[in-house]
């Protein structure tokens, strides 16, 4: 009986987590404390559907299946796409094994496409077995600063240096003067901060530490260069949890906890989360609208390898992530190559209407056009497969 109950309880839990991960968008709670945050995430903006035109017909003769692996941050969106896209005759099987895993799988040519939240390094590109790899941005996401503090709702204000000091163990109490200064009206308790971070290598960690490295001198001086940034870092303090689900569960369970997790996971796990000060000095709530804003005025290099953290737009959320599909420029299998082009084109046009429904952000017009430009570069036997007309060359 005991065993049965345990199993039943576990089963219910798994079901709960599964259903939570397809939870719908819900409006973020207004700033509960501290400096007033401007209206950034109205419900209307949250159901962002750009309705990008799909200008080319799908190529005939596409393979019936595509395999992909990589980022867990992007997994909810890619799964949603795969489900919707299966009616078009191609099944996309995606495994969320982590961004680093995505890079190594595409390098070893064991999947048709990889996916990573951090661009591949020059050394990784040189080691890829199948030649040049294209970075194709797919969708934007926000890394939320989630917490579990007694009596405090969503909307605490943070800035980079404060977060950095919490993650180095220099700030250990929730009522520390530095946090109080950012949240003068909040009734912060005398509670020890339990920092929660990823224990496995993670693209989310890569994005978060990229942001800390740009904004927190305390963080960089403690971790050093280049150790302050990456998918795996030497956390000076805190509790490590495996996977985004693990971090979400732990923050929900631990009083006084503070950690970073992709916004959708925070919402699905009913976590409270804060606003983060951006380059313009405004405290920004993470949501699709503020993520899209981060990509608005960003100039990307020709190979698209760039980060979206700490950008200058007025309403840009400073810890915005973009996830890149990693695709070999020179394809050898005609069916797979056509299926890849068809799927990516669809994902970058019609597919962009989906992300906002699960709290990811569609790409802004400029970035979307640049991404389509990358698709144009995919070649089969040395010849380009499509020529999608685009308005912003890169």
């Amino acid at each position: 009986m005991i065993l049965r109950k345990t199993l039943l309880a576990a089963g219910a839990l798994v079901a709960l987590l599964a259903s939570a991960s397809v939870g719908s968008a819900r409006p973020t709670t207004a700033a509960a404390s501290g400096a007033a945050a401007p209206v950034q995430c109205s419900t209307k903006l949250m159901t962002l559907r750009p309705h990008y035109p799909d200008p080319v017909k799908p190529l005939a003769g596409a393979a019936s299946s595509l395999s992909g692996a990589g980022s867990t941050l992007a997994q909810p969106v890619i799964n949603m796409w795969a489900k919707a896209y299966s009616s078009k005759g191609t099944n996309v099987a995606y495994q969320g094994i982590g961004s680093g895993g995505g890079v190594s799988q595409i390098s070893a040519q064991t999947v048709d496409f990889g996916d990573s939240d951090v661009p591949m390094t020059d050394a990784q590109l040189a080691a890829a077995k199948g030649g040049p790899v294209l970075h194709i941005p797919l969708v934007l996401g926000a890394v939320a600063m989630a917490y579990n503090v007694k009596g405090i709702k969503s909307g605490l204000n943070f800035d980079g240096e404060t977060i950095g000091k919490m993650f180095t163990g220099q700030i250990t109490k929730w009522n520390d003067p530095a946090i109080k200064a950012l949240n003068p009206k909040a009734n912060l308790p005398d509670e020890t901060i339990a920092v929660v971070h990823r224990s496995d290598g993670s693209g989310t960690t890569g994005v978060f530490t990229d942001y800390l490295t740009k904004t927190s001198p305390s963080w960089t001086s403690k971790l050093g260069t280049p150790g302050s940034q990456g998918t795996v870092v030497a956390w000076p303090t805190g509790i490590g949890a495996k996977g985004s689900d693990g971090v979400t569960g732990l923050i929900g369970q631990t009083e006084g906890s503070f950690g970073y997790v992709e916004l959708q996971y925070a919402l699905a796990g009913h976590l409270t989360y804060g606003n983060v000060k951006n380059k313009k000095g405004t405290f920004i709530t993470p949501c699709p609208a503020t993520s899209t804003a981060a990509a608005q005025k960003t100039s990307f290099p020709a190979d698209m390898r760039a980060s979206l953290t700490w950008k200058g737009a007025a309403l840009a959320y400073p810890i915005t992530a973009t996830t890149f599909a990693l695709v070999y420029q020179n394809q050898t299998d005609a069916g797979k190559a056509k299926a890849m082009v068809n799927f990516l084109t669809w994902a970058l046009t019609t597919g962009q209407n989906f992300p906002a429904t699960i709290n990811y952000a569609p790409m802004g017009k400029i970035l979307q056009q640049r991404a389509l430009g990358q698709v144009n570069k995919i070649m089969l036997d040395g010849k380009p497969l499509v020529k999608i007309p685009i308005s912003f060359e890169g």
Binding site: I2, L3, T6, L7, A9, A10, L13, V14, I97, G98, S99, G100, G101, V103, S104, Q124, T192, A194, S199, D200, G201, S202, G224, P226, G227, G230, T231, V232, V233, A234, W235, P236, G238, I239, G240, A241, K242, G246, G249, L250, Q253, T254, G256, S257
Partner: protein, 334 residues
């Protein structure tokens, strides 16, 4: 047909049959020996594979530099310099041993009591079902224990740990062991879940050890006027101490290798040894589970193989010791 030729024919037939039998025998023998060889070969191949995979890191940094450090920082690894070795593993050995010791301290007394109850005290009707239920605990997947640990156990542990900290935290040496704050995931939490996970195997072996205690001696003790407790103490427990020790060692072997439940509950801090049982740490299996998918730094994956090799070595020693002790007991009793 003469009688002589008939006899010769019979002999021939018998010889043929015998030959066939011998052939069948040898085929059978080859098949079972082959099965045994496959197991041995698989083990040797695994060990060889682990050592070969970890060899680049071992030769680059030197064997001793791994066990000489308790700091694991892959992000600081540089391909060209061997020192200081960023892949210290001492804290993983410590974490593995500490969680397992906590588990054994909690599980062994319960397992001994449970096994005694099942073999000698419980009403005969209850014995089999009870033993079955205990065995069933071993069938619960490890990840379920992890889930249960996070969502059911941690909230219950919180007040207990806080009390322990406030009672014992001030005492000089003991205080360090029970120092707060308790956030949840910790050596302590991982140890408790491990205790539940090793309970079935320790109980099962203890049951076998207790079952071979001679009935004559038990009856003699009772006939001499011993109470049931005295009988159990004199004729069962006393001669079973080595057996219980062996059972504990086998349980320890199980605890050492446990991965997912521990990974979910230990807090995964890989930087140093934490003295408090309420602190966060990591074990040898947990660091492998956490990092192998994204082991992209220089010598990172190879160093994880070093951890794997070390784990294999330690569990092997513990298991062989346990088996030796248990088999020696069975022999002396029987």
């Amino acid at each position: 047909m003469s009688a002589a030729s008939h006899r010769a024919g019979v002999r021939k037939a018998q010889a043929l049959q015998q030959q066939r039998l011998r052939l069948g025998d040898s085929v059978f023998r080859a098949i079972v020996a082959g099965s045994a060889a496959i197991v041995l070969l698989a083990f040797v191949a695994t060990a060889f594979f682990l050592v070969r995979k970890s060899w680049p890191a071992l030769s680059h940094y030197g064997v001793l530099s791994f066990v000489g450090s308790s700091r694991w920082t892959p992000s600081t690894a540089v391909a060209t310099t061997a020192h200081p070795n960023p892949y210290g593993v001492l804290q993983f050995v410590y974490g593995t041993v500490l969680t397992s010791v906590i588990a054994m301290l909690l599980a062994v007394p319960v397992a001994v009591g449970l096994a005694l109850y099942i073999t000698d005290v419980a009403p005969p009707r209850l014995r089999k079902p009870l033993a079955y239920v205990v065995d069933l605990f071993a069938a619960v997947p490890s990840v379920v224990y992890g889930f249960w640990g996070i969502f059911a156990l941690l909230p219950v542990l919180h007040p207990i740990a806080d009390h322990l900290t406030s009672w014992l935290g001030g005492i000089p040496v003991v205080g360090k062991v029970f120092a707060g704050p308790f956030f949840g995931p910790s050596y302590f939490a991982a140890g408790i879940v491990l205790a539940i996970m090793v309970l079935p195997i320790v109980t099962a072996i203890c049951r076998e050890v207790f079952a071979v205690a001679p009935v004559a001696e038990k009856e003699a003790a009772l006939a001499l006027g011993a109470t049931r407790w005295e009988m159990l103490r004199i004729s069962v427990l006393k001669r079973s101490t080595a057996g219980i020790f062996g059972a504990s060692l086998l349980g320890l072997g199980r605890a050492f290798g446990e991965t997912i439940a521990v990974t979910m509950l230990i807090g995964n801090s890989v930087l140093a040894i934490t003295t408090s049982i309420f602190g966060q740490g990591a074990t040898m299996p947990s660091v492998i589970a956490n990092e192998f998918t994204e082991a992209t730094e220089p010598f990172h994956l190879q160093s994880l193989f070093v951890v794997g090799t070390l784990l294999l070595l330690i569990t092997l020693v513990i298991n062989v010791l346990g088996k030796l002790v248990v088999s020696r007991i069975s022999e002396t009793i029987a």
